[in-house]
Subunit: 160 residues, 2 copies
Amino acid sequence: MSEILNISEAEWEVMRVVWASGESTSQQIALVLNGKRGWSQSTVKTLIGRLTSKGYLQARKDARRFVYTTHLKEPESLKLEVEGLLSRICSRKIPNLLAYLVEKTPMVAEDQAMLMEVLRNKQVVAEVPCDCYPGQCTCHLHASGTILSNHSYEENTYEN
Amino acid sequence: MSEILNISEAEWEVMRVVWASGESTSQQIALVLNGKRGWSQSTVKTLIGRLTSKGYLQARKDARRFVYTTHLKEPESLKLEVEGLLSRICSRKIPNLLAYLVEKTPMVAEDQAMLMEVLRNKQVVAEVPCDCYPGQCTCHLHASGTILSNHSYEENTYEN
DNA sequence: GTTTATAGTTTACAACTGTAAACGATACGC
DNA sequence: GCGTATCGTTTACAGTTGTAAACTATAAAC
């Protein structure tokens, strides 16, 4: 439920195993990550320990070992990460980035139809405000109180 | 042109200033980031130094100061970052994440139309292969050689 | 009951990050 | 010409991350 995630790249690998299996022992996790990344059991245990103290994993004692679970959900986590990234560019440029992603993401017809539907139902606004701090975006060079329409893709920088 | 970016969060703030202005002195950068993040000139100079040694900024001497520019382009950089993030989940789930992003991104009618167009022209495939390492995804629990259609959103986890 | 395997905890350590003070060079003002 | 403002460079230092060995506890095996 926390708004900011503190899961490092390596820790994410551990989370993925727990997300996929619902619950795992350190041994199971180590097995997967030894295969995928060549990590030793020690390494995996360190990562589990860090995730546990950060509160992202819960440990339930089962006989002599712990079984790890998580309350955090994978889709939520990725949404937070992606939103964090998108906050690095001007809001006005995000639609172009999305266009790029739609183009390059392999999908089946159902995906395409679903996205169409989402798009069709999308409420649009008259203007997307530039949310950049002055000096970190060129929007303010053009705008000056008047409404600008499609400024953000005069240079369609996110298309490939 | 490098495939993997090594620009930290704080360094990204510096890059944004250079991207926005085309070229900047350390003073200009420090001014913006002192305003936005409260950073001292020292801090900004350290970041500039690191970006320069990493090769992301170029310094051209102009009279007694340096003017910093970059060859790296902002859209390319963000694409790389986003693609890195997307590689953290199963390919099959990406369209649902995109649906979520389309829903939550504010956009004007032109954006909507452009995305529609991109979608309409999109080449779809018969099946999106699961690219996960075994144990990090549930796809392989279902598949076993046969073609699966819309498995990836049986639980439409990326819609909100 | 003593060895052995297995699980978890502690310690380690280098690289990278965030944040900044201190230091050194150099040009400008007077 | 000499102080002073301004750059850039060096040094600092704590926190996070990647990666793992060493140590400890405890249960299973015989």
